[in-house]
């Protein structure tokens, strides 16, 4: 990374400059580069770039005039922010109380099994790059009437069984 050339943040800090950079810049300027808008800016940055790279964090720190330690501290405090690249598909198992007593742990296990199998197959093929499936858990997505629920690529699967879940994974090409 080249050192920043401008105190005012007028010049791009990182070498890559595409549309996303411009959007991020606009988001920061809309907040008047205020330090207290850090979380909003990180939300935007993650939305644009998928995850928060060290370069991004440094850039945000510089523009908002915050110590990099503070930016990293905030980025790592909240579960929402990810410092690692996202997988191709994301499955979020709701582990709220209602889902938990309705069998969410079994769903989580089924997903984990599939993720491991899929990762092993990819490795055998020698494929590099981001993982194909990421399995996460959420602390209640607020759809308790539909327990147990899994959010697969942003879509809620209501009252899902492990078998239905496996079929849904087959459909998007995450095969065992």
């Amino acid at each position: 990374m080249t050192p920043p050339t401008s105190e005012s943040g007028e010049y791009p800090v990182t070498a890559t400059k595409d549309n996303r950079q411009k959007f991020l810049e606009r988001a920061m300027s809309r907040q008047a580069y205020a330090g207290h808008a850090l979380i909003e800016v990180l939300h935007t940055a993650q939305e644009l770039f998928g995850h928060l790279t060290p370069e991004l964090l440094r850039e945000v720190a510089l523009k908002l005039k915050l110590p990099p330690s503070r930016v990293l501290g905030v980025a790592t405090f909240y579960n929402f922010f990810s410092l690692k690249p996202k997988a191709e598909h994301t499955a979020v198992v709701c582990l709220g109380t209602a889902c938990y007593v309705a069998g969410a742990p079994q769903l989580f296990q089924a997903l984990e099994r599939r993720r491991c199998a899929c990762a092993a197959a990819e490795e055998a093929k020698g494929a590099a790059g981001p993982a194909r499936l990421s399995v996460q858990s959420a602390r209640c997505i607020g759809s308790c009437g539909l327990a147990p629920a899994v959010v697969l690529d942003g879509r809620i699967l209501p009252r899902v069984t492990p078998a239905q879940l496996e079929r849904a994974l087959d459909k998007i090409g995450i095969t065992a």
Partner: protein, 547 residues
């Protein structure tokens, strides 16, 4: 917009609505959306178009109709009938309106006299099924913003405060602090910069009332916040919403834009000298941010770590200024209180808990969803009559209220009337309103372990008792679940529980032991059973399976 324009707009909208022969309200809350409400609505619109009925029938979205387990739901305005589990293919039947199609729909029709609906008294959710969250005028038509108009044009700040105090409303976030007292504390503070914060960081697993209000009736929350701003002398408000609630955020953003465009928020609220703006702050997945000082730290852009109180936020809150923090349901109660008077509100409920409470009923019951009941309703009525008891005739073992800060209540105590004091008396708490019903198959030790794991993960790490105490208690509970615990573990569990309660910095740590302590209180035999296994296992000298 002036107060006169407001009533003109409301009348015009009412006339427009009366011009339709039929209005169909599709529930478009997150629950129904994930059961295909959007497809149903699209099909209805297409059919209306195809049949040339667009002058006679209106189809629009509305807030949560309550019975989330039977979605997608639809309410027919002409007779108030609610239909459940509709398929897009049934759209035609809904539009025909002849006897044959009514016959065909009979099985999909919910009985309005069913206790699930009949026992409800709706104040916070009164607009569900009447208002389209994306159309401001539908909110105006049911008297929306008239309370704010009256406040800014006719009432003094003192009169608004007096009305709220007279209502006896208490904070719906869980602790139950009297709202009127809190407002007066903030109003009394010197200085011109004050803030209003709406806590919409509904993090308790099993609670989704606030989400439903934000999704279904966002303007009501904005109106409540603006009235609060007027009463305490604040001109800037923040809504702190969970990042997980995408739809609620979207609806709120739309509502704020509409309200600003129409002059209901902004530099001259309803053509008065009062100015009020509202900004959204989106949470980033930290349960502790529901704690007020952590929430403030998060709005300021920092790590969501709590700080010791006092000073309390009404004295020193956001950026060190006096700050009023209430939760979504509290703000949602404000407009009706001003419209109908504090005395009307105070007549509902029990001696010390006034008004209604929205509960999110989930778990093993036949019906799950949102219910709004007057304070004082027995838990038994909610669980057995309204939610229909356990499916397949199973038995209720316990219910859990208050999420990870609350506790379980055994079946034999279900005659308890719901209010703040009675729930605390049995070792649980009102919490924000999650009510999870468990049957005989649920292991209470496992549930306690589940909540402790939650608190362990969500502890912010600032104070030692919470940071290490939750880890230790969780490990102990793991030992119980694996049948490896001894007598001393039971004693240690109790000791640690007391320590966390006494020594933690904020509510998260102080209440983290509650689920465990309530299992110790009501289901000690379940913990002791696990001990027994251990003794036997030790006697047999068999290697035990790790958890």
């Amino acid at each position: 917009m002036t107060p006169e324009d407001l009533s003109d707009r409301a009348t015009a909208e009412l006339e427009r609505q009366q011009g339709f022969r039929e209005r169909l309200h599709c529930c478009t809350a997150a629950g129904c959306l994930s059961c295909g409400a959007e497809q149903l609505k699209r099909e209805l619109n297409a059919q209306v178009e195809a049949r040339g009925l667009s002058q006679q029938v209106e189809v629009h979205g509305t807030g949560c109709l309550g019975l989330c387990s039977r979605g997608p739901l639809l309410r027919r305005a002409s007779d108030g009938a609610v239909f459940h589990e509709l398929e897009p293919s049934e759209a035609g039947l809904l539009l025909q309106g002849d006897a044959a199609s009514e016959q065909a729909l009979a099985a999909k029709r919910l009985d309005p006299t069913h206790p699930f609906f009949a026992h409800q008294q709706r104040i916070v959710l009164e607009n569900a099924g009447r208002v389209d969250p994306q159309q401001l005028d539908t909110y105006l038509a049911v008297g929306g913003y008239s309370a704010l108009a009256r406040a800014v044009s006719e009432l003094s700040r003192q009169e608004v405060l007096a009305e709220v105090r007279a209502s006896g409303l208490r904070g719906r976030g869980g602790a139950g602090y009297p709202t009127g007292v809190k407002w007066e504390l903030v109003a009394k503070q010197p200085g011109t910069t004050k803030y209003i914060v709406c806590n919409a960081d509904e993090g308790d697993p099993g609670a989704f009332m606030d989400r439903s209000v934000l999704e279904g009736d966002p303007h009501r929350v904005l109106e409540g916040m603006a009235i609060a701003g007027y009463a305490v002398g604040a001109s800037h408000g923040f809504i702190y919403v969970r990042g997980e609630y995408g739809l609620a955020i979207q609806r709120l953003q739309g509502a704020i834009r509409q309200a600003e465009r129409e002059g209901l928020l902004g530099p001259r609220v309803l053509d008065s000298a009062f100015r009020f703006r509202v900004d959204i702050r989106i949470g980033a997945g930290a349960f502790v941010c529901g704690e007020e000082t952590a929430l403030i730290a998060s709005i300021e852009g920092g790590r969501g770590e709590p700080r010791p109180r006092p000073p309390y936020p009404p004295e020193k809150g956001l950026w060190g200024q006096p700050t009023l923090i209430n939760n979504v349901e509290t703000f949602a109660n404000i407009a009706p209180i001003l419209r109908r008077g504090g005395a009307w509100f105070a007549a509902i409920g029990t001696e010390r808990s006034k008004g209604t409470k929205v509960f999110a009923v989930a778990g093993k019951t036949v019906h799950t969803g949102l219910v709004e009941v007057p304070m004082g309703t027995p838990l038994r009525t909610i669980v057995y009559e309204m939610a229909g008891g356990i499916a397949d005739g199973g038995r209720v073992k316990a219910i859990q209220t208050g999420g990870p800060s609350g506790g379980c209540i055994p079946e034999r105590l279900l005659d308890l009337p719901v209010d703040y004091e009675s729930l605390v008396g049995v070792g649980s708490m009102m919490g924000s309103g999650g009510l999870i019903v468990m049957d005989e198959a649920t292991s209470m030790v496992d549930v306690a372990r589940y909540f402790m794991e939650f608190c362990r993960d969500e502890s912010c790490g600032k104070c030692v008792p919470c940071r290490t105490g939750t880890v230790q208690m969780h490990q102990l509970l793991e030992r119980f679940c694996a049948g490896q615990a001894g007598e001393h573990d039971l004693a240690l569990l109790k000791e640690l529980g007391t320590l966390l309660r006494e020594a933690s910095l904020c509510g998260l740590g102080q209440t983290a032991p509650n689920p465990v302590l309530s299992v110790l209180r009501y289901f000690p035999e379940e913990l002791e059973q696990r001990l027994h296994q251990d003794a036997e296992a030790a006697a047999a000298a068999a290697p035990t399976e790790p958890a």
